[in-house]
Amino acid sequence: MPILSYVRALNRALSAEMERDPAVCVFGEDIGIAVSNVTTGLLKRFGPERVIDMPISEQAFTSFATGAAIAGSRPVVEFQIPALLFLVFEQIANQAHKFSLMTGGQVKVPVTYLLPSSGSRVGWAGQHSDHPYSLFAHVGVKTVVPATVTDAYGLLVSAIRDDDPVIVFGPAGAVARRENVDFDALAPVPLGVGRVHRPGSDVTVVAVGHLVHDALAVADELAGTISVEVFDPRTLYPFDWAGLEASLEHTGRLVVVDDSNRTCGIGGEILATAAEEMHLIAPPKRVTRPDGAVLPFARELDLALQPARGQLRAAIETVAKSQ
């Protein structure tokens, strides 16, 4: 089977949706030359009326997408840098997201926000290394964090076809991944449905985005002593609570690994919900960035603030032992 990279999967999804639906268009900075490689070939294929290089005016072009969506287009807005989401939080959380409710359902705002490289790339320092997916789940924007190549394809397709704003985070730690895929088998992945990457019986590890791959590696290390089930929610909002519950039914033990800052990160929500509503036989744990983390520049300092495999392994061992 041919090999497909994560970034090419995003490109393929965009291209397929633009081919399928003339309402789909792409806005962003430097997308004509495809500086992120996600929009490669789109300008040539679909022309400058559908692939629009925008001035460095993130707030305006984010709301421009809202207006275009209300009027019938289905824009995909690419942001090269995750911290730009802080700049356009008003335009997404307070405008695009609220239009359906505030108008009493008169309008739909089918915009997809695409972050082709979110989280730490190591060495990009304080303003290029955030991973703010929890903020969007908190306000109720549909939030997707694909971990794998086929999920990147399938979730981006579903995001574009969705009639509400959806934000898609491609974790920097996952975008270099490649998979052998059957191109004909690539398909939409529904929003709000998680995926068990590895079945297990002792501990459920909920891993977000690129951390799925760390969780799978740690599960391998522990195989023979602790049987770890790796659950990837794929969509953080709406969250697949039924999928989590099904996993905890047979493990009763929970560890979450989440690249959010600790306070109000999605990991806290997962633990709280499991504690309130689900079957737990031991106190759960989470591995996250520290409270209020700002990633420092130096490599060792940057890595020191990200969830690490050693931390995850220790958390799993603790939860597996506790009564």
């Binding site: 421009f64 997408a65 275009a68 009027a71 359906s100 409710l101 009493g104 709406p238």
Partner: protein
């Protein structure tokens, strides 16, 4: 040329709607208060008279005039202000978010300057679909120092969008005088982006109509955006909370002087007395009906508080487990 009587009808309707809405705020029928459009009626009336029914507008927190002038039903508008299920937005938007997409009202917006870029995107999308619709975005003098509005001016000029920017300069951003918040000139901002800009007597409905007609025709012809600075004066409070808080940022004498030229009076003088009396009577009847309609309409069922949050079937979890 717009019919003088039609313009009179619109400014009079807005004036009386606002006066009655203030009464309903005082009596508690309208929760939360309103930002009255008193004194600025000529702008909404003149601009919207220059538009086709399928053209679109975005509005502001002080948006009742725009919404009425663009053709929303006053009964459903008042029901919206009263938070009723029959309101334009099914009681989910209220005074600051009134919308009626069926007549091109893409929503009033409570964040100053926020809707200009939305109007630009909507105009672009319609043009791409082969429709020759024009978008008008209304905003106040307080918006001209918002970055996103300036960004929108650049985008509109860059892509020659069919958008008319209408600044309602009522001299105050809440309590702050325009000269204390704004360097340079307002029209100069648009001119800096290569957008033709004109200051207009915002107290005269026919002057506004003529300027707006030129700007709309230009936009529809594909010649790009235009900018109107309509000079007006806010006769009433920034918001009805001023009736209880009584902030002192302008004297009664100043308000009286600013209100000498009244758009309703100016337009009334152009209409035959008998015609004017008939229009006035029709408006009172209409607003009587609107009040009865609003007060008789049901309040939304609390079980529907999350309705319309998403377009499909998604329901988030409730606030208790």
């Amino acid at each position: 040329m717009a019919d003088s009587a039609d313009l009179y009808r619109t400014v009079r309707l807005i004036r009386r709607f606002e006066e009655r809405a203030i009464e309903l705020v005082r009596s508690g029928v309208i929760p939360g208060g309103i930002h009255p459009y008193l004194g600025e009626e000529a702008i909404a009336a003149g601009v919207c008279a220059a538009l086709r029914p399928d053209d679109l507008i975005t509005s502001t927190h002080r948006g009742h005039g725009h919404v009425l002038a663009k053709g929303a039903d006053p009964c459903r508008m008042l029901a919206e202000l009263a938070g009723r299920e029959t309101g334009l937005n099914a009681g989910r938007g209220g005074s600051m978010h009134a919308a009626d997409v069926s007549v091109g009202i893409y929503g009033a917006n409570a964040i100053v300057g926020a809707s200009a870029a939305i109007a630009c995107g909507a105009a672009w999308s319609h043009r791409r679909a082969g429709r020759d619709r024009v978008a008008v975005t209304f905003f106040g003098d307080g918006a001209v120092n918002q970055g996103v509005l300036l960004e929108a001016l650049n985008l509109a000029a860059l892509r020659r969008l069919p958008v008319v920017f209408v600044c309602e300069n009522n001299r105050f951003a809440t309590s702050m005088r325009v000269q204390d918040t704004t360097s340079g000139t307002i029209t100069g901002r648009a001119e800096a982006f290569g957008i033709p800009a004109q200051a207009v007597d915002g107290m005269d409905p026919e002057a506004v109509f003529e300027a707006a007609s030129r700007a709309v025709a230009r936009a529809r012809a594909g010649d790009g955006p235009a900018f109107l600075e309509c000079l007006t004066y806010r006769f009433g409070p920034h918001h009805t909370w001023e009736y209880s808080v009584r902030p002192r940022y302008r004297t009664d004498e100043e308000v009286a002087a600013g209100s000498v030229r009244d758009p309703v009076v100016i337009q009334a003088a152009r209409v035959d007395d008998a015609v004017r009396a008939r229009i006035d009577g029709e408006i009172e009847d209409l607003l009587d009906r609107a009040r009865l309609f609003a007060e008789a309409s049901p309040e939304p069922d609390p079980s529907g508080a999350l309705d319309y949050l998403y377009s499909g079937t998604l329901r988030g979890r409730g606030g208790t487990a």
